[in-house]
């Protein structure tokens, strides 16, 4: 928390974003920012536009209107490889790991954007390619240690229980050593114990690596406990933005969650 206060510099700012698919307006005139070193939560009921928002943040969707400023630069439309290299890593709502590959290999794929040796040297695994891989492996081993997944290092990810797969996915996102980490419902479908573990990891990541985190989450309890600031979406619009305590007391937010009818 003190990190958020120390640096009020925004890592990412969204200005008047609107996004539509054909006639469907997914996001309407949304503005907020994410400061360096904070945990920023994006919440809202089903279909509020949270995942669309995340896709705008990481550059996968290009909004029809509005500006995205990331790391001091105005962002244009990006190609997929540019998206990957800009320094934003994410996890997915419905887990997108390589199921046949081991935990270790999955984490190594998180490092791919940082590997520079060409395919020839990679193939014969000599010189730079070898040095590089060893460095990356060391980084990945630190993450394995950090997330306490040593026991499943060599296990194919498809054989792991859901909660652990989620953890591996977090690991892969961490391996990319990004400036901004996007977590799309990291606790969805978990039992209480798994949720507690995951909260602990998110907080530890934040504290240990100083990573800025944007978090989409359904579970209000979790959000209020770990987020520094919260933005609330409903029907593609921003209906609240502030510290957890403010959000908790906000009548608009309460209405949206309790399902007061929209006239």
């Amino acid at each position: 928390m003190n990190t958020a206060e120390n640096t009020s510099e925004a890592l990412l700012s969204l200005k008047n974003i609107s996004l539509s698919f054909g006639g469907v307006k997914a996001l309407t005139d949304i503005s907020f920012d994410i400061k360096k070193g904070e945990i920023r939560a994006i919440i809202g009921p089903n279909g509020a536009g949270k995942s669309s928002m995340l896709n705008v943040i990481n550059g996968f969707y290009h909004p029809q209107e509005g500006e995205v400023w990331f790391n001091g630069n105005l962002r244009g439309s990006l190609k997929p490889h540019e998206i990957a290299r800009q320094g934003i890593a994410r996890t997915f709502q419905n887990i997108a790991l390589f199921k046949g590959m081991s935990t270790l290999d999955n984490l190594m794929t998180g490092r791919i954007t940082k590997m520079h040796a060409n395919i020839f040297w990679q193939a014969i695994w000599k010189g730079k390619a070898e040095r590089e891989e060893l460095e990356h492996r060391e980084k990945v081993e630190h993450i394995i240690d950090f997330l306490e997944i040593q026991a499943i290092r060599k296990t194919p990810v498809g054989r792991l229980p859901y909660g652990l797969q989620k953890r591996v996915e977090l690991g892969r996102a961490l391996a990319a050593e990004s400036k901004l980490l996007l977590l799309d419902e990291p606790m969805a479908g978990m039992n209480v114990e798994e949720k507690e573990d995951m909260c602990r990891f998110v907080l530890d990541v934040h504290e240990e690596f100083g990573t800025t985190i944007a978090l989409i989450e359904h579970d209000m309890g979790v959000v209020m406990d770990i987020a520094d600031r919260v933005v609330v979406l409903d029907y593609g619009r921003k209906i609240g933005d502030g510290f957890p305590d403010e959000i908790r007391a906000d009548q608009n937010v309460i209405d949206a969650y309790l399902g007061v009818s929209h006239d």
Binding site: R137, E141, I144, E148, Q150, R200, L203, E207, E208
Partner: protein
């Protein structure tokens, strides 16, 4: 012991200096970190320990101070034990899984001034109770993760303390020498708290001599060398780990290996391939079950080869291990089996290099015991206690039996009291229970004899047989001994039987309640086309009764050969209509039967067992998992079991 000599190695710091001199380049500790085994040689360990000790000194740790050590098996936690002893202090290892209140009791009772906590979890627990611990002064942690933002006034990183020590040692390189030289074998070396299954934990005070002499004796008798490899995975606060991973390691100079995490122990075991290994019976049981389940998934031809050679191993494996004479043909078959089955199997289990394995703590099933021994793994039993610095009896090579725990360990005297309780006297006998003179007096008499609380006797080979807790042992009306747990354990070795309660104290004969194992019996029923809808129905099935009668008959035949136990054959039994359940208070949470509750709840059935009736009607209240209660009613039938007249053992 010649205490006048200056270079007597009677404390751990002295042993450390000696090892660093003699075998300084040999690995002393390994730990798997970041996927790679990192190792520290004896001389590196010495530097690490001295630096940490000097750092502790700078923080104000003085002779007689206690430092609690909380966490799993990690090099720095082991080093702290010796570091505290370098300063004339007393290490107090605490079980890592104890909750804050349990920890509070130990930290308070031991009056610790310092705590070494492994990680955030442990630091949090200590901080939670810190304001109720007036003596507590400084906390040091090993793993910084998660505690970066904590208040630092009384919290230190291990490496920072080492750095303090390094600076202090640079100023005054001999600052630790005087205190180390002043250390004596008779000094208090360590407090080990008993796990406290009965009441509050007691702090067992052990001297340096207790640990070192016992370690020396056992190292000598089992011919352990500086080349052994052990896996240190059992709780640091348990006396067994203190002897196997600390005492014997320092005395023999061998290397201890700390696993990467609790979940990776079996992988780490395979990678290290220890030569010397200790595990409680349930670990060996788990390994065997695992092997058997995996074999059932193997192809038919593989199963055939496996079964054939396992039969060979069962027939001659144990004899070959014990060095008895075996025919050349069988030896050839065993050699071939080793090539095809035993060696690869041992490799998967991590037992390729094993010279010696010990098990203790509970009775081990003969099949499990023989399975490992027939593969050529020299697994032996020992009998010990915290109060004895572990060793009371050990099994000598070539004289290993599943149902006895061996002969007295070197320098140990054993006696059996008139009540049948085992008592002993040895160099390992503890000094006292910390701040509990009454308990000390109850346990240890003026001549140094210690009551074990266990009932037992020596069999005709001179091996000690432990049968039960002394307070549970009763007498049948004809005066012969009745040891319920002994009988129950014997029956529980059958996979179809999950739980047994036997009765016989002040009765004419012995009877039993049986709980079938629903998995094993259910599986059997499926294969034999026996349909059942519930536990109750399966438990009452005549075929199941027949099967249980056969198991009991086999047990009775076995008991008949034991002169002390032949009177304890089971005459009548019944299969309970419900499983004994901790939710109903019939068992403890650790699944130990509460006899008094059983006597109360089921007195109708117990009476029926003795009045000759063929069945009894019972109505019991049960508690479901969600806390609701209901009743179960059933007619439970009672069956007679075949008994045998006592025969003398033809061994």
């Amino acid at each position: 012991m010649n205490n006048s000599a200056h270079n007597v190695l009677d404390t751990f710091p002295k042993l450390l200096i000696d090892n660093a001199l003699r075998i300084g380049n040999k690995p002393a500790v390994r730990e798997k970190e970041y996927g790679i085994w990192q190792s520290w040689s004896w001389s590196e360990v010495k530097i690490n320990i001295f630096e940490f000790a000097a750092g502790l000194h700078t923080l104000g740790f003085s002779p007689g101070d206690k430092i609690a050590i909380v966490g799993r098996n990690r090099p720095r936690l082991y080093w702290t034990i010796t570091a505290a002893q370098c300063l004339g202090g007393i290490p107090v290892p605490v079980y890592a899984d104890s909750v804050a209140e349990e920890m509070e009791y130990v930290l308070d009772h031991a009056e610790v001034r310092f705590v070494l906590a492994e990680d955030q979890e442990q630091v949090d627990k200590v901080l939670e109770v810190a304001d109720r611990l007036p003596k507590l002064d400084q906390i040091i942690y090993d793993d910084v993760r998660g505690v970066r933002d904590y208040d630092r006034t009384k919290l230190h990183d291990f490496t920072d303390v080492q750095k303090l020590g390094r600076d202090a040692l640079a100023q005054n390189p001999t600052m630790l020498d005087a205190q180390i030289a002043a250390g004596k074998g008779s000094d208090v070396g360590i407090f080990l708290y008993t796990s406290g299954t009965t009441g509050k934990p007691k702090g067992v005070v052990l001297s340096n001599d207790n640990i070192i002499v016992t370690s020396r004796n056992s190292v000598k008798i089992d011919q352990l060398t500086a080349d052994e490899e052990v896996l240190s995975y059992l709780p640091l606060a348990w006396v067994g780990d203190h002897i196997f991973s600390h005492g014997q390691a320092y005395v023999a100079g061998f290397c201890i290996n700390c696993p990467e995490s609790e979940e990776t122990v079996s992988t780490d075991l395979r990678e290290i391939g220890p030569t010397y290994y200790f595990a409680p019976p349930r670990v060996f049981e788990g390994i065997l079950t695992h092997v058997m389940i995996r074999m059932e998934d193997a192809s038919k031809s593989k199963q055939k080869i496996f079964n054939y050679f396992m039969k060979v191993a069962r027939k001659v494996g144990v004899d070959i291990l014990d060095g008895k004479s075996v025919s050349a043909g069988d030896r050839l078959k065993y050699w071939l089996g080793n090539l095809l089955i035993y060696a690869p199997l041992k490799n998967t289990m991590g037992f390729s290099r094993i010279k010696l394995a010990y098990t203790a703590g509970e009775a081990i099933g003969p099949e499990i015991f023989d399975f490992f021994r027939s593969l050529g793994i020299n697994i032996k039993q020992l009998y010990g206690q915290t109060e004895a610095s572990v060793f009371i009896t050990m099994q000598p090579n070539g004289q290993v039996y599943a149902d006895t725990v061996g002969v007295p360990a070197p320098d140990v005297e054993i006696n059996i009291t008139d009540e049948g309780e085992v008592i002993y006297r040895s160099p390992g006998v503890f000094l006292s229970y910390y701040k509990n003179e009454e308990a000390t007096r109850e346990t240890k008499n003026a001549e140094g004899w210690v009551m074990t609380g266990d009932a037992g006797y020596f069999d005709e080979n001179g091996h000690l047989k432990i049968i039960d807790r002394a307070k549970d042992v009763g007498r049948l009306n004809d005066g012969s001994m009745f040891a319920p747990k002994y009988l129950e354990n014997k029956l529980k070795f059958f996979s179809q039987i999950k739980e047994v309660v036997t009765f016989g104290d002040q009765r004419e004969f012995v009877t039993a309640f049986i709980n079938i194992d629903l998995d094993a019996v259910g599986n059997w029923a499926e294969r034999n086309n026996i349909a059942y809808a519930s536990y109750l129905e399966l438990a009452g099935h005549p075929e199941v009764y027949k099967m249980m009668a056969e198991n009991i008959e086999q047990t009775n035949a076995d008991l008949a050969t034991d002169s002390k136990m032949s009177g304890s054959q089971i005459h009548r039994f019944l299969i309970l209509h419900k499983e004994l359940d901790p939710d109903d208070g019939e068992m403890t949470r650790t699944r130990k039967v509460r006899r008094s509750v059983i006597f109360d709840r089921y007195d109708v059935l117990i009476n029926a067992l003795y009045d000759g009736s063929e069945s009894a009607h019972i109505k019991t209240e049960v508690t479901f998992e969600d806390g609701r209660t209901g009743t179960i009613e059933a007619d439970v039938s009672i069956m007679e079991a075949k008994t045998f007249s006592a025969v003398s053992k033809s061994a």
